[in-house]
């Protein structure tokens, strides 16, 4: 089937999946005064404000306001991101569960992707670029530390010390992840999870995971950080990092920080819809699953 028709069917299936579980579909503004300060995510300027890089801050304010199961399918914008798997404007499905932690979101991912695959007529195996990947749950779960020990030439500690964490992850670890069944890569070094809760048993670890299928990163999830003081400290650190690199520094998202103390323990996740379409439509480039790329406009 044509990728755009498949895409439309998949988005309907995603929507139905969440509606069937009593999640509330919401829309938050795309244009916001203060994006989350993160070291390596640059926002697109829109007048005096910015296009959101994800709906995270507004959705968490809704959690704080008492909406405990919410989802949103929306466009997100990130300046300078363009590659075979990146578009500066892309589609995200983001959902939050009050009273849950990141482990529940792993179960959600297994159920969601199996449901979507079934609805477009795939059974529990997906073929992507000549490789067959089984979707039957449970999927593999491996910690960042163990994945580095298994696939990388240096340890996580060494990679962090030499500022090569991202490079080793992208070049040595990711190509091995999810090649037979999907993989949850979990428990990141705390400096790699700016909005994630720290693990009670280990303050050096953030409760964050990424879902990988066929070496492709599909989703990022956290047990949400709800300590406003700690969140402010991490935003300030990210802002300092941005200033050091010469990146634009964003205003502090004060309203979000004010709302955070009212948010109960929650877990949230963002999954790239374009990449999920790439996977299920067997396309190697993100260009092949969208109606137009920026270059074609």
């Amino acid at each position: 089937m044509d990728a755009l028709r498949l895409r439309a069917q998949m988005i309907q299936a995603i929507r139905r999946f969440f509606q069937d579980q009593d999640f509330l579909e919401i829309e938050t503004p795309l244009r916001i005064p203060a994006p989350a300060p993160e070291s390596h995510i640059d926002a697109v300027v829109a007048g005096a404000w910015f296009l959101h890089t994800s709906p995270e801050l507004c959705m968490k304010r809704l959690l704080a306001a008492g909406y405990s199961r919410i989802f949103q399918i929306c466009k997100c914008f990130r300046a300078g991101e363009r590659g075979d798997r990146h578009l500066p404007e892309f589609t995200m499905i983001e959902w939050y569960r009050g009273g849950a932690d990141y482990r529940t979101l792993m179960d959600d991912c297994e159920a969601l992707i199996n449901t979507v695959a079934r609805e477009i007529g795939l059974d529990d195996v997906v073929s992507w670029q000549g490789r067959r990947i089984g979707l039957k749950a449970p999927w593999e779960r491996i910690s960042v530390r163990d994945a580095f020990a298994r696939y990388a030439t240096i340890s996580v500690a060494e990679a962090l010390r030499t500022d090569r964490f991202d490079e080793i992850l992208a070049c040595e670890v990711e190509p091995h992840l999810g090649m037979e069944i999907p993989v949850f890569l979990y428990d990141y070094p705390v400096e790699q999870g700016a909005l994630a809760r720290v693990k009670e048993a280990d303050p050096g670890i953030a409760e964050r995971f990424e879902l990988y299928i066929a070496g492709m990163e599909l989703a990022n999830a956290f047990s949400e950080l709800i300590d406003a003081g700690e969140q402010r400290r991490r935003f300030e650190e990210a802002s300092r990092d941005r200033r050091r690199k010469g990146s634009p520094v964003y205003p502090m998202p004060e309203r979000f920080l004010q709302a955070l103390p009212r948010m109960s323990p929650s877990a949230g996740i963002a999954l790239g819809v374009d990449r999920l379409v790439m996977l299920l439509a067997d396309k190697s480039r993100i260009d092949d699953v969208v109606a137009f790329t920026p270059e074609s406009l």
Binding site: S39, G80, E81, G83, D84, H86, L169, N220
Partner: protein, 187 residues
């Protein structure tokens, strides 16, 4: 000055004082991590290829490359001498740098010489040149065994296959990219 975000296929940059051309490029960015620019590069002097991953903070100098119109003068001890038509400055290219173009170096032919900081790297010739056939066997009419072509030698010493009616002393046009005969040139 380029930054990593300028990297793309075909970009020519300077690394360790050598010019490199980006032959393959991909943007990768893990999770919330930093942007990485994975490139395959080819050294434009020695042809060596290698892979390298750059980060957004990396900066590069542009490779100072320019093409100049120069005329071919002579060959001596394996070196080909060309002269800049405007400055009369002379440069020497070796066999590797001249490559297949050596077959078409007519006296005073005007070529584009690719220079890196005034060092010659390569040559491109006009797509078509007209040359005189200096050696050809006579056309044996009715000789069907020899097929539709015959070998000839042209004034540069280059040998090629041409239709059997081409005779010694005639002028023919050659495509310098393929090295093949195109047509007979009258006059």
């Amino acid at each position: 000055m380029f930054t990593a975000s300028d990297l793309r296929k075909g970009l020519r940059i300077k690394i360790d004082n050598d010019p490199y051309i980006v032959t393959e490029f991909n943007f990768v960015k893990p999770g919330k991590g930093q942007a990485l620019y994975r490139c395959k590069l080819r050294n434009m002097i020695n042809g060596n290829q290698f892979e390298r991953t750059f980060r957004s903070v990396d900066v590069f100098d542009e490779a100072d490359l320019q093409e100049k119109k120069m005329s071919y003068l002579y060959k001596e001890e394996g070196k080909y001498c060309f002269m800049d038509n405007l400055s009369y400055e002379q440069v020497f290219l070796n066999e590797d740098q001249v490559g297949e173009a050596k077959n078409f170096l007519l006296d005073n032919i005007e070529a584009e010489i690719l220079l890196f900081e005034d060092r010659p790297l390569g040559i491109s010739l006009p797509n078509f040149i007209d040359v005189i056939v200096t050696k050809a066997d006579p056309w044996a009419k009715g000789d069907s065994v020899s097929g539709n072509t015959k070998p000839v030698t042209v004034q540069t010493g280059y040998q090629l296959q041409v239709p059997p009616f081409i005779e010694e002393g005639e002028k023919i046009r050659i495509d310098t990219r393929s090295g093949e005969y195109l047509t007979r040139v009258k006059g």
